[in-house]
Every structure is written in C-alpha cells, then in structure tokens.
C-alpha cells in the first residue's frame, strides 16, 4: 500500500483511453463502476475536446455483483457496437473489474462480431498510465497487422529508391494528453517534408484502424515518444524489419541529430547540413550578449523521461545552464534518466512522490525549475521561477497558439518559455546599477514572486536594534543595515547564505563585515 496525496500518472486504463480517444473509428468498452467516467473530463476539459471519448462504461453496481456481471458486459458491448459501429473494438477493465474477473475481452470475442477485437489486460495494481497507453497501442498494432507478418518480406529501408518516390515514414507516439503532441506533429512533418521525406501515417493521434494496417507502407518509423511508441516500434522492427529512429528532436542538437539519423536509415543524402544550424533562433539568442547572464544558472529538472532528458541536454549544451538536479516519474525510463544524471555527476531522482521532488528541489537551491505543473506549484511556494516541460496535462499546457516543443519552432518556444521567467541580462544589469536608488530599497515587487517579503518583515520589525534570526543568529545593527542595501530580489538569498556561512564558521553575530565575508566565501 502506498500513501499518495497526488499522482503524476493515472491508472493504465486511462492510458488506453488516450489511445482510443486519439484515434478514429475505434470504440473502447470499459468494464468499470460508476465514477470511472471522471476520466472523460481529462479529454473534454483539459484538452478542451469537443467530442466525448469513444468509451462505454459498463457501470456495474454493488447489486450486480451477486448476479451476472458478465451479462452486463455483453449487453454493453452489443449496444456499443450497434450504436458506434467501430472498425476495431477495444475491450478492457478498470481496477475494480479486474478483481471480479469477468474477462470482458474473451466475452467480446465470443459474440460473433466481424471486426477485430483487442483484449486489453492492463494490470491496474502494478502499472500506470503511460504503460497502459504503450501496451494498448502495441496490442492494437499487433492485432491489426499480425496476419501480414508471415506474408511480408522484411522491409528494406532503401526500397523507395526502386519505387521511384520519396521515402515514407510513420510518426508514432503522439497522443491526446501528451505534452504539446498536437503541435510537435505539425513541426516534425514540416521538417521531414523539407528534407524530402513524406509522412505515411501519424498514429495514434488522428489515425484510424485502416491507417494502422497501412503502417507497413512506410520504410521506417519515427519513434517520437518512446513512452507510448517504443514497444510498437520494436514489434514492427522484429516482424517487418522496420527500422526506427531513437533521437527525440527536442532542442537544436537533437533535431539535427534526428534529421541525420533519419537520413542515414533511409540512405538519403543530407544536402542542407549548414542550413540546419540557422533554422531556429535559439543558437543566436543563446549566443547574444544578453544571454551572458544565463551562464551557470542553476536548473532543477523533473518530468517524464523523454522531456527530462531532452531538457537536460538543452539546458547544459544549448543555454549554458548548470543542471543541479534531474529526475523522472517514469519508471520505464529510469535507466536512461539515471545514465544522463550520471554524466552530470548527479544522482537521478526516480519517484512518484511530489513531496520528495519538492524536498530535492529545496536542497538543490536552483534558480530555475523545469518540471510539471506540480513542480510549478512547488517552485512557486519556494519562490523559484519555473517553466513547465512535461505532462501530467493541465489546461494551460494546451495553448491556443502554435507551441511545439520539437524541431526548430520548438527550440524557439523553449528559449522563450525557459528564459522569460528568469531575469534577463540587461534588466539584471540595470537593477544592479540602480540598486541604491530609493525606488529599490523597499516595496517594489519583482515578478519572481514574494520571496522578499519575509526578509522585508525581518528588516522592518525594529522592536530591537539587534534581531535574532530563526537559526538563532544575532543580526547586529550594521548587519541589518547592510542587508537593506542588497537589492530586494536577492535579499532573501543573501540573508540565507550569510546565516549559512555564520553557522559554518561558528559566528554568533552577523555584522556588515560578515555579509562581505559570506559573499566572498560563496562567490
């Protein structure tokens, strides 16, 4: 039993719903009690979808348990098939139905329907949402393509040359409730097209069962989100010999690497190598003088595996930040995240407990947090700026504007979204210059929140000339006076650092000199 106050991922059947809702002509009969329909609002409210998820909930009740819940399942399957006429039927169960073992998938298969039926067995007490989505997409692909396995020769990635057409690829993994998937697909298709590569099928987002059957018309697969698509890509590779790309095109370096990988796999010459460096504004913006101030900014990164790893690379290599913490809630990606962390001499935090993440964040004392919506909340409490880089989805993660994470435009979006919460160079420079002007002494709030407030209260309460801090250290009058001269937006940090220094050195009283000693010590 695990005490959970909040969870990054839903149960695995919500993953299955993500696949079903992303696609066309599919219906999912879910053996589940009343209440499980809450998951519909993830799609209709958070994604703002104008359609209901294609899901029928059998809605069994306590009084049904003594009777024949299997009949209830069959009745719902029959009604759903008649009403929605799906081309493929998914049948599965949520956590409670798993316990009563009606085997709805087997029941459905015995009902004499012509359409393919995918029996989803998603263990609700050991697995989570992303696993459920991956397994569903894999089972669906396998069901719809297994008959073609023996009859097909292995797919030669170079066959496009003989066929006299541009090479074709599938883009696999984008789904509803995936981070910026809607726009990533557009960006990646645009890039591939520019490179002379056509898109055969995008799946599951927007695909129908017919499209899944057409997957083998492409030469290779683009595995865009390994959390969702890697299992399917592996199966297609094993059974049809279809190669797939491993590079996730988030950030400039990875986008270029991704293009290279696709070209190599297809044996398509890369003719615009130099051009690629200038496709995004990120490299120049990062090089421009204002960005000098980004150097060594301490960042803490937490998210799903794919986005956390990508963010680490961008932060370190493209923006010149220092990564001071890295973690993920995706246990399936733990190995890769650990490896990335190790390269940075960090220990990866693999957890589903947001309070542990908050603690780690506190200890790492970052200047910027890149995380999920939960880290945004935690960072706000700690007064640290934050940019959201990963699911779980929030209505704000489905912006009206085009806002991909991948490719050239994705890099532009990332530059803006990560850098704007920070104080920019010129701004920081000016504040430094004018910090002794009266406007800056007190009462001016920065956009960084209310961190300065506690320190302000500390300074303003002058019942005594000397003041004892929470840590039991005495601030002398000169110490306090000096602290007021520090600009408000770093005052809290200077105070903490000075106290930390005093404790370290066993100094009982902080004077103006102690502040300078501490400053020198920490610089």
């Amino acid at each position: 039993m695990e005490l959970t106050l909040w969870t990054y991922e839903g149960p695995p059947h919500v993953g299955a719903m993500r696949i079903a809702s992303s696609m066309k002509d599919i219906h999912y009969v879910l053996h589940a009690p009343q209440g499980d329909t809450y998951a519909d609002l993830l799609f209709t409210m958070i994604e703002r979808r104008g359609q209901r998820p294609p899901v029928t909930y059998t809605t069994f009740q306590a009084r049904d348990l003594g009777g024949d819940t299997a009949e209830l399942v069959k009745k719902n399957i029959k009604e759903a098939v008649e009403r929605f006429k799906p081309k493929t039927l998914l049948v599965g169960e949520s956590c409670t139905a798993e316990l009563i073992q009606d085997q709805p998938g087997a029941l459905a298969k015995g009902m004499g329907f012509d359409m393919p039926i995918v029996n989803l067995e998603l263990p609700a007490y050991s697995k989570k949402e992303n696993w459920g989505a991956s397994e569903t997409f894999y089972q669906l692909t396998r069901t719809l393509l297994k008959e073609k396995v023996s009859s097909s020769e292995k797919i030669n990635p170079l066959r496009w040359k003989e066929l006299g057409r541009r090479p074709k690829v599938n883009i696999l993994g984008p789904s509803l409730l995936g981070f910026r998937c809607r726009d990533d697909v557009i960006e990646i298709q645009r890039i591939l097209s520019e490179q002379g590569i056509d898109t055969n099928v995008v799946a599951p987002l927007g695909a129908s069962p017919d499209d899944i059957e057409r997957l083998i018309d492409a030469e290779i697969n683009i595995c865009l989100y390994p959390e969702i698509a890697e299992a399917s890509c592996e199966w297609l590779k094993r059974n049809f010999g279809m190669e797939y790309t491993n590079t996730i095109p988030i950030g400039i370096k990875n986008t270029i690497e991704f293009i290279n990988e696709a070209h190599n796999k297809l044996d398509l010459p890369l003719t615009n190598k130099e051009e690629l460096e200038n496709k995004s504004k990120l490299p120049w913006y990062s090089k421009s003088v204002d960005s000098n101030y980004l150097t060594g900014k301490r960042v803490f990164i937490f998210g799903d595996g794919t986005h956390a790893i990508a963010a680490t690379k961008i932060a370190k290599e493209e923006l010149g930040f220092e990564v001071v913490g890295l973690g993920t809630y995706s246990r399936e990606m733990a190995r890769q995240v650990r490896a990335t962390a190790k390269d940075l001499n960090l220990e990866a935090l693999i957890t589903n407990n947001y309070l542990e993440v908050e603690d780690a964040m506190k200890k790492a004392a970052p200047e910027l947090v890149l995380g999920t919506q939960m880290e945004r909340h935690s960072a706000k409490r700690l007064g640290i700026p934050c940019s959201v880089i990963s699911t779980p989805m929030h209505v704000q993660d489905v912006p009206a504007r085009y806002s991909p994470q991948m490719g050239w435009e994705g890099a532009n979006v990332i530059f803006d979204n990560w850098v704007h919460p920070l104080m920019m160079g010129l701004e920081e420079h000016l504040i430094d210059m004018f910090k002794h002007d009266f406007e800056f002494v007190d009462g001016h709030q920065s956009h960084l929140g209310h961190t300065a407030k506690q320190t302000k209260d500390f300074l303003n309460s002058d019942e005594k000339k000397e003041k004892i801090s929470k840590e039991g250290i005495i601030w002398t009058e000169s110490g306090r006076a000096e602290l007021t001269k520090v600009p408000f937006f770093v005052r809290g940090k200077v105070k903490t650092n000075t106290e930390k220094y005093a404790i370290l050195r066993g100094i009982p009283e902080i004077s103006d000199e102690t502040l300078y000693d501490a400053k020198a010590y920490f610089s």
Binding site: H13, Q34, D40, Q61, T96, L99
Partner: protein
C-alpha cells in the same frame, strides 16, 4: 402531490462516485483528513475533480492498493496500519481521520470498520477514526457526504436540549446568514452538521429539530431519526420560494408565528425578486434539460421553473428518495418528467431530439454538447458555490443565465466595424 411523471432508466452512467464529495467535505472540516483506501484510479479521480485545488499537502489522500495487498487480507490490514501511522506522524494536527472505502476495497471486502475500531483504541484521545464508503458501486457523487455524515452520528453525544440542527454542508457565509435570520425569528440555539471543526460535533436528542439544507442525505436522516431527532419536512432552501417554505417549516416546528417569519423575510424577498429580474428576462421561456448528477436537480428544476419561468424538458436525478423530496415534488408543475438513473447514450439522444436551450450536466459532457451548439452548465458548480437562501437566489439564477447571455454576446454583432 402534483402529477409528475416518474421514470427509471438503467445503463451506462456518466456520474461521479461518492469519493468526489471529499473535495468539499475536507474544506468544511479543516481538522479532518480523508484517507481513501483504493486504487490509483481513486487518487486520480479526486485530484482531477478537485482540478486546480492543489495544496502543499492536501487534507485528503489515497492508500493505493498494490498487487501484494490483494494477495492476502491480513497483509492489507497491516499495510493500512503502517500508512495511517506515517500519516499521523506527518500530520499531527489531524483530529479526525475518515477511512473511506472505494470500489476495490469493497470488492475485496476490506473491513474498514474493524480497522477503524482498532485504530481508535490505539490513538485514543489523539485522533478519531471513522469509516464510510464512497465507492461508485454503492454511491453517486453527493451520496458520499451522506455516508460521511452518517459515520459521524455515533460520535455525537446525546442531549435533550431544544435546538435547530442544520444538516448538510453549506458555504460558511450562507450558514452565517441563516443563523442570523433564525436568531431574528427567535430560534437561538442553532448548530450545523457537519460542523466547521470535526471535533465540535453537535449533541443530539429528542428535542433536536433537523432542518436539511441538502437533498441528498437519506441515510443521515434515517440515523438522526433513530437518535430521536425530529425531521422538519420542507422543500430545500434554493430560490426564494424554497427558502421561504424552509424558514416557515422551521418556524412552525418552533411554534413561531408565521406572520413574524413574513415580517422578517419579506424585505429579503423583495430585494431578491428585484435582483432576480434581469436573470429571469434571459431565462424566461427557455427550455431546460437536467442530466443526473448532484441530486439537486429536482430543487433546481422547481426554482428555475417557478421563479425563472423556464420550461422543463426532463429532470434527471441519479437517485430519488420520494419521501425526502415530497415537498419539492409537490411544487413542480404538472407533467414534469423525472428520470431516475441513467442510460447516458439514450438520454443524450433525447437531449438532441428536444433541442434544449440549456443543459445541466457533468464536466465530461459539457464541451461535447457545447461543440454541438447546446449551451451547458456544470452541475458540479452547484456544490461549490454559495447558492442557498433568499439572498443567493439571484446568484443561483445567474449560474444559469450566464451561459445563455454569453452565447448571445458571442453570436450577436454589436459593434460596427470602422
């Protein structure tokens, strides 16, 4: 009883389960913690229904059952013990801990009553443990509050002191207004259940006169009756009419002259009628379809028809206690179609066929209906907003007129393009 048409429907439902009521109960009693014993689905449900209300450490959580807990029951009890110990050492300010049963815990027959009993002994004088079920196989949405309140009744001491007990969660400001009005009427001893602190439970007995503020408390009412309480029969205090009848019923139970009630509340009524006018203008003649969710549907239908002149197409309710709703049903217009239960697909067919101006529904259905060009109002808003009482009548009407007004604004050209 007016000639209303009763129908029952079964089939797939689109209704929250009883766990959802934790979202408002934990706010009502800030010294209580709600520990759901369930699955990841339960945890995900509550956080999704609670939406943006993410706190540093919320006063609700889920002990998520894992495969090893399902293997043997003794094990699950020990595990739960461990989780509770962790929780209490972490949150020493908790005074009452609700162990909330869920679908999976009910199906594996996890005996939370026994667990609660054991824990009560161990934490005697520090934390009280009560248990109830919020499972979807037994409860819908607001029935969760019914279960939680029922579970508290055995902890309430007996007293024969005469008092008015308001039963059902109210917004604090509304509760204060009600108490003030009752005091003006001459009823001085007024308490609320649930109280604002879980430890300040009212004492009850044969001179306790119970006035319900919410229509979904069937089990609570039954147990209060067993404790000797008198249940005042009245419509619910939604809208001017319902609230007036509600005050009158209470006054009658305390033998207060009806004229005095009118004297005190008529200025409120006049003021409220004035405030209601602009909303009525929009709502009048508009056709309303209520899908089942909160069990407030019948009272809302009564208010929106009788005071806002809306036409009722269909009034869905997840569960109907005809006895408890007697006074409300009496106020409904003839031929009102009430449907208890749901077959969501068939009901949506009827929604489309009847072409309503406004549909009251759950969050899962709202945007899809909006996309079809049908204006909607979320039913969950009724349980989060202060809508009770005469003073709130216009605000309540506003919840329904706003989507219609917005629709009008967005579909009308009002500015000349220069």
């Amino acid at each position: 009883m007016s000639k209303v048409e009763f129908n029952k429907e079964t089939g797939p439902r689109e209704v929250f389960c009883g766990l959802t009521s934790i979202v408002w109960l934990h706010r009502r009693m800030p010294d209580a913690f709600f520990l759901v014993v369930g699955s990841r689905t339960c945890a995900h449900l509550i956080q999704s229904a609670a939406g943006v209300m993410i706190f540093a450490e919320p006063r609700f959580g889920t002990a998520i059952l894992e495969e090893k807990d399902l293997a043997g029951l003794a094990d699950a009890h020990e595990e739960l013990d461990r989780v509770v110990n962790d929780l209490i050492s972490r949150r020493p300010e908790i005074k009452t801990l609700f162990l909330v049963g869920s679908c999976p815990s009910e199906v594996i027959k996890l005996d939370l009553a026994t667990v609660a009993e054991k824990l009560n002994k161990r934490f005697l004088g520090q934390v009280r443990f009560v248990n109830y079920s919020g499972s979807g196989i037994e409860t819908t949405f607001t029935q969760g509050e019914d279960g939680a309140l029922k579970a508290l009744i055995p902890l309430m001491e007996s007293s024969n002191e005469e008092k008015l007990l308001l039963v059902g969660t109210l917004a604090n400001n509304v509760e204060d207004r009600f108490k003030k009005i009752f005091k003006n009427l001459g009823i001085s001893n007024i308490e609320s259940f649930p109280p604002r602190q879980s430890t300040e439970l009212p004492k009850i007995g044969k001179n306790t006169k119970v006035l319900l503020t919410q229509p979904y408390l069937s089990d609570t009412v039954r147990d209060l009756k067993h404790r000797g309480c008198e249940i005042i029969s009245a419509p619910f205090p939604l809208g001017i009419e319902g609230s007036t009848e509600w005050f009158l019923a209470a006054a009658k139970a305390f033998k207060i002259n009806e004229l005095k009630v009118h004297e005190i509340i008529s200025p409120l009524i006049n003021r409220a009628k004035l405030a209601l006018e602009s909303h009525k203008e929009i709502l009048k003649g508009k056709r309303l379809f209520l899908l089942p969710e909160s069990q407030l549907e019948i009272s809302l239908a009564r208010f929106l028809h009788n005071e806002c002149e809306m036409d009722l197409i269909e009034v869905g309710t997840p569960y109907l206690n005809k006895d408890l709703m007697k006074e409300e049903i009496n106020l409904l217009p003839d031929n009102t179609k009430i449907v208890e239960g749901q077959h969501v697909e068939k009901q949506l067919d009827r929604v489309r066929e009847s072409n309503p101006d406004l549909v009251v529904c759950g969050m899962g259905l709202a945007n899809p209906l909006e996309a079809e060009g049908i204006s909607t109002k979320w039913s969950i808003e009724m349980v989060f907003s202060p809508i009770h009482g005469i003073d709130q009548a216009a605000d309540l009407a506003g919840l329904f007129s706003k989507p219609l007004r917005r629709n009008q604004i967005l579909t009308t050209k009002t500015l000349v393009t220069h």
